[in-house]
Subunit: 153 residues, 2 copies
């Protein structure tokens, strides 16, 4: 019995989105940003795939969903080298390189425990100072954060 037999295979998607070149360790965070656990069409995720450029990469495939520009840009916060492939009729119709937004609204936490966003019901907002390497500044307390300091809300 081949492992590739039908019932054990993840089918190729007909219409949807493939997010490729995600650093392996943030793959499930990207799932969270896009609320994919709650999505009701087929979603498949793989981590620790071999990648020449990233070492280990993750891939996410989602059937019947196309991302908004805002969603594509959110991905860039965690996975600045990701590519978003738009699939139509089993073919890659478009390949989008993600791009960091200038402002990041209510996605990441401020690392300053005294920041108002950690103490009152105030949404977080960061301005992107530098895209590579990533450097952001909190709109409220001016804490500067780098990639390693970033955690999701």
């Amino acid at each position: 019995m081949r492992e590739t037999k039908k019932e054990l295979k993840v089918p190729a998607i007909k219409e949807g989105t493939v997010i490729d070149h995600i650093p392996s360790r943030v793959t499930f965070k990207v799932m969270r940003i896009l609320d994919l656990r709650e999505f009701n069409h087929t979603v498949s995720v793989a981590i620790n795939l071999k990648s020449k450029t990233l070492g280990k990469k993750g891939i996410i495939k989602v059937s019947n969903r196309f991302l908004t520009e805002d969603e594509v840009n959110k991905i860039a916060i965690l996975a600045p080298n990701a590519t978003v492939n738009i699939i139509k009729n089993y073919e890659v119709k478009e390949k989008i390189k993600v791009s960091l937004p200038d402002e990041i609204h209510n996605i990441i936490k401020c690392s300053n425990p005294n920041c108002i966003t950690n103490n009152e019901k105030v949404k977080t907002l960061f301005h992107v100072l530098n895209k590579s390497p990533l450097q952001v500044i909190c709109h409220h307390c001016e804490r500067v954060m780098e990639s390693k300091d970033i955690t999701l809300i």
Copy 2:
């Protein structure tokens, strides 16, 4: 460009485990029980796949990992109809039907807020009263719980 081209495909696994027939909604919980997010070989997961018996099912494939009997039994708590396929050299060598253990140690929470396990550092322990439908009893407070009451620690 076919979506099935090499870089977008999740490769079949050479050695490892395929967990099939997981109810879709608990697929990521099964990942958690097995600590698969932290595993450093290829792991792929798909949810909302069509299934004749389950409506929607999830599948988890893990390279280079074989489950212990204890792990297989843990899966049964969330996915009593799951099958665990052991893959060797790309072929399904063995198909194990999961089976509920008689005792469940420190995996699920007691739903009784006054239970000692929710108030002191005491590990949870449940005895399985009935396997289908699932019914368990807390060793400490004797709260009886069904499938719908079960949450993971």
